[in-house]
């Protein structure tokens, strides 16, 4: 994509309970910090953003946009990401773009087979099972059921490993799909919002 050669932006993901992900893209170059620490979004997020931007000699206000994962995922994780980024965007007037894990899965799943998992709460996962490019089943499943119902041959993908986010958020930027920092809210996922479709299992 042509635009990316000029764009400067952050991508922030706090939807997974034990991962704080901050990516900085500058004219097509990527630098990133991924912290694997359980439930430490609040402690780590702002220092991570600050250190990363300082290292790259960039001020937050100089960004073309900031992209934030809106979920579904860990409620508290999302809430910390949102409270942080809402205020950053409001004060700096940097445009805000949100993207969600469904968008990531639906793009990536065309080329992959396996079970996609997003941790929604302490014991529950949102999952989508893909076989030969088709959705076999999707829904919310508890950790216990997950390991009871799926055999080892299924390959697991954690959402953080799916790396098509640049394409997605830059497309949104080009189409000016900005969110209002005052009103934007996480995608809170609960059982019931998704009807599990169990096929051939």
């Amino acid at each position: 994509m042509k635009m990316s050669e000029k764009l400067k932006y952050l991508v922030i993901n706090t939807s997974v309970e034990d991962l704080t992900e901050v990516y900085f893209f500058n004219q097509g170059k990527k630098s990133q910090v991924i912290l694997k620490e359980s439930r430490q979004h609040l402690k780590n997020l702002i220092p991570t953003i600050k250190n990363l931007l300082e290292k790259e000699k960039t001020k937050f206000g100089d960004l073309d946009f900031v992209a934030l994962n809106e979920g579904p995922g860990s409620w508290t994780g999302l809430r910390i990401g949102f409270a942080t980024v809402k205020v950053l965007a409001m004060l700096s007037r940097v445009p805000l773009i949100v993207y969600n894990n469904f968008e990531l899965i639906s793009k990536e799943s065309k080329s992959l087979d396996g079970l996609f998992l997003i941790k929604c709460s302490e014991t529950n996962y949102f999952y989508r099972h893909i076989k030969n490019g088709n959705i076999v089943s999707e829904g919310v499943v508890s950790e216990v059921k997950l390991f009871e119902n799926y055999s080892e041959e299924v390959k697991y993908y954690l959402i953080s490993e799916i790396n098509i986010v640049t394409e997605l958020v830059e497309k949104k930027f080009n189409e000016k799909m900005f969110s209002n920092s005052f009103d934007v809210e996480p995608m809170y996922l609960t059982e019931g919002l998704i009807t599990p479709k169990i096929k051939n299992e």
């Binding site: 609040l42 780590n44 997020l45 206000g61 409270a83 205020v87 950053l88 409001m90 809210e185 996480p186």
Partner: protein
Amino acid sequence: MNKDVYILALETSCDDTSVSVVKNGNEVLSNIVWNQNKTHEKFGGIVPELGARRHLKVINYVIEEAILKSGIQKDQISAIAVNNQKGLIRSLVVGVAAAKSLAYILEVPLISVHHIEGHIYSNILSNSKIKFPHLCLTVSGGHNLLVLVNNHFDYQIIGNTLDDACGEVFDKVARYLGLGFPGGPIIDKLSKDGDSRKYKFSRPMLDQDNFNFSFSGLKTEITRFIEKNNTNPDLKISDFAASFQQAVVETLIGKSIKAAKKYNLKQISVVGGVSANSKLREEFQKYADKLNLEVYFPELGFTTDNAAMIGAAAYYKFLNQDFESLELEVFPNRPL
């Protein structure tokens, strides 16, 4: 200090989203409180997840309104203060995350304040006559302490509740009677037409030689009383409410006065949501006058949770340069 200090303070510990700008620790330029009572009243109590979602939904509006109303510009803000101790964890994180973003973008220091510390300063903010040392009674739905306030940030807790906080009992009794939420103001209003001597309820632990409170026994006594008199046509709910309130008020006053005498303190400061109770104010003043003690209550707007009190306490931390790093976390259960 010859330069004015403007502190932008946030308080999101429970069900109120509040942001305030306080000048030099004593002048409240704005104090926006976004109350969630409507969200929670149908449940008869606070639902933590709902509360946290509500905080997140309104936080930018409340911050902007507080700055706008204060009349100052963003670049005049000297520091950001936030309550990160004591409260519901899901709610606290919203305020703390927002506070860190503010401190980072505005490039000003970050100050942390304990929720109860904030309440103690709500009265220092309201009454310039309060000096150190003084005795502070904190009463709300979440805390019920007797504290010796020796100096700025020098506290000694001498009494605590062994079970429920006083405000919680008001809420529970109101809920049991189907009167609504929050219970304190409802029972206060009902009691105005009632006879507070009509029914005799116990004054828990008043005769004991310590400064602790316990309200769960009284709560059980009250619920039993309601069950027994449910169909009694002669029972006037206002008499009942007034009698219940009297029992609570006398307990709070009795314990506080005992403590003031033992520690030889002339000034008693009463803070927290229950300090808005009209009967408590009236009776406390009566006792204090009789015993030649001074009792102080915050302005009504500063009794329930508010960010102005956080800003007032933070001012003295600002003077001490008691600042936090951007790694600040929340401590929902940390004692004062």
